[in-house]
């Protein structure tokens, strides 16, 4: 087993499923991030106004309003009751992410995700120590702090430093000094703390995690009996504490990854050479047992080192 864990992450999956197969969800995710960014950029770049505005608030095809519910919450606490347009937009976003998983926003839409993913890629390449790892609850404390500060100052507080909307707005309306903020976050994730920003600090992610705590779309380790302990899923998962309860659960426990911290990024599905994981819904707690003739894995000989 130790030999396996020393293999490059994802190599085995790439050998078994092909490179595309082992990067399916990663590619889809990058495409999705690019898609949502392009939707906003088509207007200012090419004059095709499908979506106007930014991730904070937008208007699609001149009618559909969408508003960031986290910003709206801060606005409410800061003492402003928004107009119906913004409230409607916030509700639509809230319901959508409550269904598909709040942190889908983090891994499939947020423009900071490619930045921190790149920092993490380099972090792995340079084999750096994981560094400062704040407790899992830290981002919830920060979330509470942001809401309290909004109430005390009467200002939508997180927008003063929110790198997500700043980068997004920067790309659409003009960067200013946002690049300095992006470099700061990259350095933070590269040197100070592995998965530091998205995994431990960002209150936007914490907020969306809470929204999607009971979401329908879930990853399940249904085929966990086939797990050969290669540890690749733990290596690629940005929130790898969410895996164990599902993957290593005793018989009779749910194979579903139910933690609100899971971003539904699907990288665990990609890197698993024996296809332990799959997307499903939260009521599908079906576990594949080795006696199941259809999907039972063949016993595998130890691979050469």
């Amino acid at each position: 087993m130790s030999a396996r864990t020393h293999m490059p992450v994802g190599q085995e999956a790439a050998e078994v499923k092909g490179w595309i197969g082992a990067h399916r969800f990663l590619l889809l995710r990058r495409a999705s991030q690019l898609f949502f960014l392009l939707l906003f950029l088509l207007g200012p770049w090419f004059g095709i106004w499908i979506v106007e505005g930014t991730l904070a608030g937008s208007r699609t095809l001149g009618v559909l309003p969408l508003t960031d519910p986290f910003i709206l919450s801060q606005s409410l606490i800061a003492g402003h009751w928004p107009e119906l347009t913004a409230l409607t937009g916030g509700l639509i976003v809230l319901v959508a992410y409550a269904l598909i998983g709040g942190r889908v926003y983090c891994s499939w839409v947020c423009p900071i995700n490619p930045v921190t993913d790149a920092a993490n890629w380099l972090h792995r390449r340079l084999n750096l120590p994981k560094g400062w790892q704040p407790k899992r609850g830290t981002r919830l404390w920060i979330l509470a702090t942001v809401l309290i500060v909004s109430g005390l100052t009467g200002v939508i507080a997180w927008e003063v430093i929110n790198p997500i909307t700043m980068l997004h707005r920067g790309l659409i309306f003009g960067m200013g000094f946002v690049w300095a903020l992006i470099i700061a976050i990259s350095v933070f994730d590269l040197i100070v703390a592995r998965h530091g920003w998205c995994g431990h600090i960002c209150p936007v992610g914490a907020f969306y995690g809470l929204i999607g705590a009971k979401s329908l779309l879930r990853v399940s380790a249904a085929n966990r009996a086939a797990c050969d302990d290669c540890m690749d899923c733990y290596a690629v998962c940005p929130e790898n504490h969410v895996i164990s309860p599902a993957l290593k659960g005793k018989d009779g426990t749910t194979p579903l990854i139910l933690s609100p911290n899971c971003t539904n990024c699907g990288r665990c599905i990609d890197v698993c050479s024996v296809d332990v994981f799959a997307f499903t819904h939260r009521f599908d707690d079906h576990v594949v047992t080795p006696s199941d003739p259809a999907t039972a894995p063949e016993p595998r000989a130890a691979r050469p080192i």
């Binding site: 208007r59 606005s75 200002v155 939508i156 003063v160 700043m166 920067g170």
Partner: protein
Amino acid sequence: MPLAGTPLSPQRRRFLQDAARAAGGCVVAGTLLAYLARDARALPAEALRPPGALPEDDFLSACIRCGLCVRDCPYDTLKLAQLGADAGATGTPYFTARDVPCEMCDDIPCVAACPTGALDPALDNIDDAKMGVAVLVDQENCLNYLGLRCDVCYRVCPVIDEAITLEPSHNTRSGHHAIFAPTVHAERCTGCGMCEKSCVLPEAAIKVLPARLARGSSADHYRKGWEEKDAKGAPVVEGIIDLPDRLPGPGTDNLAAPGGYEPGYSLPGIGQ
């Protein structure tokens, strides 16, 4: 059992320590964030908010910085403040009158675009907008004050003859010309900035300033005697005798001041 003898659970101690540490960290981070948030309230005087913008304190609790007002501005007047630029809280909309003034569209598309009401939808007549107040800041360089007839700020004003009037007075330099002083009437000025944009000088002599800088205020308890007198139709103080004013001029016993001369013109408002 005496309470003092109860052994405290190590988990409880650990939990309390962790909670205290997290709370302490949050107080520090929160203080920093509050400082930044309050700092963001300082809007530079040249940066004017779009029409209908709530007062700055309320605006920062309402504006989600989405940029839809910027998108719907047909004259590209509005911009979003960029991080590090000297233009107020990052991502909030503003305009600089000397660059592109507000054209005061009748349908106020920026207000219609605002999803949150940071630009108040109650503003339905653009003439009621209060983006700032024009102030003739430099009388020494203003061409009209020098006795010339530039008049550009007056001519371009969308609320001409109400927001800006030309007030004639004697030109003491030439002795026989008039000075037509551009005079702003704040209650009608919308702060659109057309005057500042059009001022022909290299640096505008008339500028739109936020009301907090442009205006003084009258104390609540002040009463203007002449208005009170008009309202009452009689002297405000009972029994006061209004003696005739002894001024130079025909019809009085003071045709000319001792050793003086007959004035060449009559002061306005001093008739007999």
